[in-house]
């Protein structure tokens, strides 16, 4: 047990260790990725605190609000960062300082920057070359087709939209057909069509027996591709296991959702009468902040209402405050 000062200044004891394994046939023996008593701190700030879990084949969602420690956990799984204490193993080996591990591991990072002077195809080819693949062309074209980027693969990445950059990063991470795939917020910046394609791809990868870990801070998103989830809040493992069981706990509390639209007042009026909506207000930036007890029903309701009223939707996102409070509830339990 150790005590470190948190970012918010509070002193907090590390929680009791949670030892879980998620994925198909979830047992400790089946775990491809294992974290054992892993902590990571930067000076006085604890990013990940005494976390233990195993992840087996299938799709596992790594869920938590922004700044919860999801990205740090993924970076440690990928060997980009060393844990301050504890151990991380991929297929029984530490990924840190062990380049051969990367023959079987692909990471889609959260960072947007990719070499802007390369074409999408050049970037995927670069990844394939550095993986030592021979012959290259077949693997490169297969990876580009996986993310449906054939028509844009010849264009410079510098001219790509955010969603296209995300997809070409996925292609780069999958070109060597790894069995372990780590994705950090891969749906960020994608439009609804791209999002649906990526979600389908993630599910197919999981169904084919690969170990896929996808981080997200959006509950309804994770539900669409992951059967199993790990919830990280304030660097601690708050909950783990089957999505539905955790969902029941989460749904017991209201969620706040932020909506940007072309006519917030009319849309707000339309939402007020709906049973899934508990409260609606408009903030200083003319955005609707709606409170709901049934997120899924709410996310179905908003586009329908907007379409009926011919209002354009620019953003429908859970507020960070709402996510933190919902996830914190799991820790308290």
């Amino acid at each position: 047990m150790f005590r470190k000062k948190r970012a918010n200044g509070d002193l907090d004891d590390a929680q009791d260790r949670v030892a879980v394994t998620t994925g198909m046939g979830a047992s400790a023996a089946a775990a491809t990725i294992e974290l054992d008593q892993v902590s990571k701190w930067y000076g006085d700030i604890v990013a990940v605190s005494d976390v233990s879990f195993g992840i087996g084949p299938g799709v596992t969602g790594l869920l938590g609000p922004n700044g919860a420690g999801k990205s740090t956990a993924l970076k440690m799984m990928a060997g980009l960062q060393a844990p301050s204490s504890g151990s991380v193993r991929i297929d029984g080996h530490s990924p840190r300082g062990n380049p051969p591990t990367y023959r079987n591991l692909g990471l889609v990072s959260e960072h947007e920057v990719i070499y802007p002077f390369l074409t999408g195809r050049d970037f995927v080819r670069l990844n394939a070359k550095l993986q030592g693949l021979r012959p290259l062309d077949e693997a490169v074209e297969r990876a580009i087709a996986l993310v449906d980027m054939q028509s844009a693969a010849g264009r410079k990445i510098g001219g790509y939209s955010k969603g296209m950059r995300q997809r070409i990063k996925v292609a780069g991470a999958l070109v060597h057909d790894p069995d372990v795939i780590l994705m950090d917020e891969p749906l960020n910046g994608t439009d609804p069509v791209q999002r649906a394609q990526l979600i389908r791809l993630i599910r197919e990868l999981g169904a084919s027996g690969k170990t896929v870990v996808v981080s997200s801070h959006v509950l309804v998103e994770v539900e669409r591709f992951a059967e199993n989830i790990l919830v990280i809040v304030n660097g601690k493992l708050a909950a783990a296991g089957d999505f539905r069981a955790i969902r029941e706990k989460i749904d017991a509390h209201d969620h706040e959702v932020r909506i940007r639209s072309s006519d917030p007042r009319r849309l707000a009026s339309a939402l007020i009468g709906e049973t899934a909506v508990h409260a609606v207000r408009i903030d200083a930036q003319d955005r609707i902040i709606a409170s709901t007890g049934d997120v899924l029903a709410f996310y179905r309701l908003v586009p329908k209402a907007a379409q009926r009223l011919q209002i354009r939707l620019f953003e429908v996102q859970p507020t960070d405050d709402s996510l933190s409070s919902v996830f914190s509830y799991l820790v308290e339990k």
């Binding site: 970076k75 051969p100 591990t101 591991l105 960072h111 990844n127 550095l130």
Partner: protein, 247 residues
């Protein structure tokens, strides 16, 4: 070895502003050479040889311009990738860290050599204008000895960019304080300065008693020392890359 990282880094350099800065620094001596040529007054062959060999090459190019130009490109080779977080596209591959460092250094050398040689050749051509035969034997020693500076400074500054965030600033301080000032006046420091070995090789190759440097080192010493600096820096940079945490 396919040199994929070297080719990628060269493409990065050719599209960055650093390349224009390096080109500008390398051509600075040519501007001074033009000023010398257009200044009224007759200059003897001896004066012209002295201006190119001692003033422009030894005191300006080898002492200041070469280390500065190499600093700009070497710190960009890995430092820029750490800063914009693209280095993970290389480190998350089943390749040794030594290969990444080696190929990055190779890219620095491949890009630096033609630019530096262009600057030296243009400077020489301006000074030697109308007296080419008399200054002919100064050109190739300058080109050959500049390789010592490119390899030595290149590996040193590549390492520097991997151990500290403000490598460019620290590098400029090192160039002006250590290589340009201290090593020129303090005998002990002279022998641990890359500038000194660059100048020593130049003087040895020119073989003219009017072209000299204090505490002249032997050619073999220059080569062994340059290789040693390069090997040590690459080993340390490889170790650093292994232990580095990346965002």
């Amino acid at each position: 070895m396919s040199l994929t990282i070297t080719i990628l880094t060269i493409r990065q350099f050719l599209r960055s502003r650093s390349i224009y800065v390096v080109l500008g620094i390398s051509l600075l001596a040519s501007v001074l050479a033009v000023i010398v040529q257009v200044t009224p007054g007759e200059m003897s062959i001896r004066d012209l040889r002295d201006i190119f060999a001692n003033v422009l090459y030894q005191d300006l190019i080898a002492a200041t311009l070469l280390p500065l130009a190499t600093l700009v490109l070497s710190t960009a080779a890995v430092g820029d990738e750490i800063e914009d977080r693209t280095l993970q596209y290389l480190t998350l591959k089943p390749i040794g860290r030594f290969r990444i460092v080696f190929e990055k250094l190779l890219a620095v050398i491949v890009v630096m050599v033609p630019i530096v040689w262009l600057g030296i050749a243009v400077t020489w051509a301006i000074v030697a204008f109308g007296n080419v035969d008399a200054l002919r034997n100064l050109l190739w020693p300058a080109l050959a000895s500049s390789l010592v500076a490119i390899v030595g400074f290149g590996s040193l500054f590549l390492l520097l960019s991997m151990v500290m965030q403000r490598a460019l600033l620290v590098g400029v301080f090192y160039v002006f304080v250590w290589e340009t000032a201290l090593s020129r006046f303090l005998p002990g420091i002279r022998s641990i300065s890359i500038r000194h070995y660059t100048q020593s090789l130049f003087v040895r190759l020119v073989d003219d008693r009017r072209v000299d440097v204090p505490q002249l080192s032997a050619q073999s010493t220059v080569i062994v020392t340059t290789v040693a600096i390069c090997v040590v820096c690459v080993i340390l940079a490889t170790w650093r890359l292994r232990s580095m945490s990346l965002e």
